[in-house]
Symmetry: C2
Subunit: 293 residues, 2 copies
DNA sequence: CAGTTCCATAACCACAGGATATGGACAACC
DNA sequence: GGTTGTCCATATCCTGTGGTTATGGAACTG
């Protein structure tokens, strides 16, 4: 049942006149006649009595007209909805973030939601590796990740992050202006709390690369699965830890963060995505704006 | 927004696979691809991420799929409904009847309603002239009328009706086996109650023709607008009346009907219609069946 | 009776949309 | 690492739907 037929059905019913309907539908009168005949064959019943006074609904036509109007209205509603989904005023966006997004993601989401309240946003904490997987599988639209990203994923740089040494307040430490060599010797063999490595390349590799660069080898005293726990252990005096500087956002007050220098100590955080849509572009824009503050 | 596009959208979404959807829709894979591309252009958003693992919904696709499914389901419901309207299992039938149908119409409607309970029947009392008018205008599907019918109206004969003399019980009257001449002389100049003539040719003309045939001229004492009133006046002893024999169905017990003879004294009652539909054919069949009892 | 106003039919034509064949990307498997 | 299979996209061709103009027939109108 093509909607085109129903539209001409409705128009003819309203005008009560094939020619007038043709005019209104900006087509020719024979076209309308043919469409009506086709619809009547499809339906299996005569819908109009044609005569000199125009076209009048039969009882079958009378019975079907309301349903036809309803269907047309719903089709139009669908088109409107499709339009607003395409325009990014409606829809859903599922966003992932890991350690890298721990500070930025909530800010970006808050900004985005204030701009586009019609969009349903779901924000989920997951590792970078899982984000990549789900981005490529299409079950995740956006991720906050450490750059670079694997092939097939596009990204936009947001801000730089640095590794920092997390220490309990009032504990022996390298001086504020300590050289890399001094920091390295301080770290070497020192008992540390570290994040448990995830599947795939992650933050722990980044940290390992820094150790390699500094040529030091701290001793892992304890592992924890999330950054909050690591920081809590640091606060409890279990040991020091090397963490992203953005962790300051969630660090207890008694933990102090001391930036580390070195090539491997700094990297870019970005928003990553695979699909392209207005909604997504807008979220990226919101993330960029949030990163600037 | 053609429903065809939505159907392939739904199928691809369900199978997650363009080729499989093509198979299921019994079309070719490129056709499905083109339809998806067209739909995406119409909607203005990408609905699927295509890859080696098939086609997966984007968030926009996810957002629109339920609406599309709903629209498809409603279109199918419309087709089903159209089918049952065409099959005459559903719909409305508006039926007219005048004096001629006073006995038959209720019987026919009762039979029809018991056969097709899904059909809404409206039964309205109106003169033959009005029935013809409304039949031709399309606002009436069936009428119970005195034959013959005007051009443009088709009919089916149901049963014969006769004029009869309505008299109060126990009153001076022509004998049971009176000749036409005896009846004529009885009628001549006699005070009668008669039905008020309606616009157009009606029962009163039929009666006038009988008087002409019998060469008598009764005196009209009183007119009434409907047959019930005429019979009530007869019962009250106001006078005799010439009425259809079928009026027996609604005559008070104290009124006796005496059949009149003569060419003009008898005529056919039929069902008249203009449109053609299964519903209508079935009603006519029910009327014929009712007339046979 | 000519003119007008309806709708239906006829004949033609353009283009949408389907089919077949092919290409390109990637994964899996010898 | 080549080969093969499995995806989807593209190219080209062609059929059939659905549009157009022109014309016909019927009924009402002046």
């Amino acid at each position: 049942m093509e909607l085109r037929l129903l539209r001409t059905f409705a128009t003819v019913a309203r005008t009560g006149n094939v020619s007038a309907a043709a005019l209104e539908l900006s087509t020719s009168q024979p076209a309308v006649t043919k469409q009506l005949q086709l619809l009547e064959r499809r339906v299996g019943a005569t819908l109009f009595v044609r005569g000199r006074q125009g076209a009048r609904l039969t009882s079958a036509g009378e019975a079907l007209l309301p349903d036809a109007l309803d269907l047309i209205a719903r089709a139009e509603a669908f088109e409107r909805r499709a339009g607003s989904v395409a325009a990014g005023e409606e829809g859903t966006l599922s966003i992932g973030f890991g350690l890298s997004g721990i500070e930025l993601a909530p800010q970006a989401v808050a900004l985005f939601r204030s701009r586009y309240p019609g969009v349903t946003v779901s924000l989920d904490d997951m590792s970078s590796a899982v984000q990549y997987e789900r981005l490529l599988a299409g079950t995740l639209q956006v991720g906050f990740v450490r750059l670079p990203v694997p092939a097939g994923i596009t990204h936009r740089r947001l801000r730089q992050d640095h590794l920092a040494l997390a220490l309990p307040a009032g504990v022996d430490r390298p001086g504020e202006r300590a050289t890399s060599a001094q920091v390295a010797s301080w770290l070497d063999g020192r008992p540390l709390v570290r994040l448990r490595p995830e599947r795939g390349p992650g933050l722990t590799d980044q940290i390992t690369r820094l150790y390699d660069e500094l040529r030091c080898r701290p001793r892992v005293l304890q592992e924890a699965r999330d950054l909050q726990t690591v920081l809590a252990l640091v606060a409890a005096g279990v040991g020091a830890a090397v963490v992203p500087a953005t962790a300051a956002a969630i660090a207890p007050g008694s933990v102090e963060l001391m930036p580390l220098r070195g090539k491997a100590a700094s990297w870019w955080i970005g928003v990553a995505s695979v699909e392209r849509s207005v909604l997504l572009d807008r979220f990226v824009a919101a993330a960029v704006a949030a990163a600037r503050t």
